[in-house]
Symmetry: C2
Subunit: 320 residues, 2 copies
Amino acid sequence: MTPGAAAGRVIALSGGVGGAKLALGLAQELDAEQLLIVANTGDDFEHLGLTICPDLDSVMYALAGINDETRGWGLAGESWQALGALAQLGGETWFQLGDKDLATHILRSDLLRQGIPLADVTASLCKALNINAGLVPMTDASVRTMVATATGELAFQHYFVRDQCAPAVSGFRFDGIGAALPNPDLLAWLEADDLAAVVICPSNPFVSVDPILSLPGVRAAITDCSAPVIAVSPIVGGKAIKGPAAKMLTELGFEVTAGAVADWYGDLLDGYVLDHHDADLAASLRSDRRQLLVTDTVMTDRISKRALARAVLDFARHIA
Amino acid sequence: MTPGAAAGRVIALSGGVGGAKLALGLAQELDAEQLLIVANTGDDFEHLGLTICPDLDSVMYALAGINDETRGWGLAGESWQALGALAQLGGETWFQLGDKDLATHILRSDLLRQGIPLADVTASLCKALNINAGLVPMTDASVRTMVATATGELAFQHYFVRDQCAPAVSGFRFDGIGAALPNPDLLAWLEADDLAAVVICPSNPFVSVDPILSLPGVRAAITDCSAPVIAVSPIVGGKAIKGPAAKMLTELGFEVTAGAVADWYGDLLDGYVLDHHDADLAASLRSDRRQLLVTDTVMTDRISKRALARAVLDFARHIA
């Protein structure tokens, strides 16, 4: 065990880019068998016959160290020749498919079509990329986030990428969630005696974390688990680090504050991690039920990712 | 009508690269509505969940002028990033999938999966690529060339690409051919009064042309058609211009000569086109049934492709 690591197992619930940063920090801080990263698959979609799993891939690429740090998504050294050829052929090009990224989608789609569950496909891809930490999809079933907007319901990627989050949102629906079995490792880890923490990464609460929490039995199992449940705020200084979380908060009638996200998670949380920028909120957010940690949460490099992970794990030990 | 063109419609039966050269020459020489190019689909295959049609694509890329002339196959300006990423992920990489080429396979596979027939998919791709000449697959059905070898039967691309034609062949089987309806345009054109020629391009007789001829009713319809049937020899000076035709001839017990190919087509032919290198064979190959043309058949550039096309069309007029 790495010095400073929690003496036990840790579950991290993650969306895409922001979640992937903390997931990487946790993977550096913990031994491989101590960490289970559960990725949202609500924003997966079928496109041109390919099954695309953006959050799962963001985490996978980050863990493998092959993600593009500058662009903030996708693979380093990516090229776009296939997309250009697709445009020439009159195909849909609103979703940016990189040439290297395509290999992931093609291989995964082929394995899924052969009947191999998404968790096994993910394990096989992670093994090929020499990823040691456990990374699982929240479910093998098809759950698809649908976004209610002023102009009608949109499939998540149509809202997020094609329409660039322009339509005002009024709610979300996770199509297929009722019949979706949660990943069995997630359920087993939540029941483990040596569970040290459940970390909700700084991901979008509505479309990255809620799909995971909405899987049948998962919210209850998290509530009942023996370890502290800690969320890291995705809102810093009234803004989202990345993505539409702030815009969504506004459109749904919430304040754009770290506190609004804490309230959204409600009594699920034993601890909440705020950035120094929001230190003034700490007093009002602290309760008998919910402890507060104020630290640097903006992860700009490998060092800050690992530092935040260490702070969160220390906080979990403190709460326990 | 272009000066020198046949006064009527022309059907060209084509395999991949060699056939594509003459097909391009014919497309330059004829008006769009005068030419129907029928491509072999016996070497199509399913790979990584994609339906790949190598001969159809070779002709399509050549007609669009986007093929790689130097490499001799695939697209000009191609890159191989997806293939590299696929290797990293542990996927099969024996079939060279270029990044740009992938767009064709992905789009076509998606459309086929939606139930759109291959002929319609091909028409749509050709339209996007501004190809005017008619290009059709020999059938919408799945016909798969199987190669009998000393080490057992191999799917064609496993023999051709993966095993690089190393196993000695003893025969061929066109899986699915009995139930495959020939392309309806092919049948309609073969019955047309204004059919001016059926041209068998200089493609492999066993694995490029025979699948087309073996479709139910096609050989009989060609025999019965009103126009001269003319083949161009794929063997020049005892060698194949490209591909395993010479090796196959040897392994099947034939001489590696232009004459062996003419004999293979048998009484289907009204005319046969030999290269100047093989002029000494002309006397023995000429018969009451079969006329001979000796000309330059090695197509190295646009000019020589068009010149051969013109010579073949003149020959057809002469025979008629």
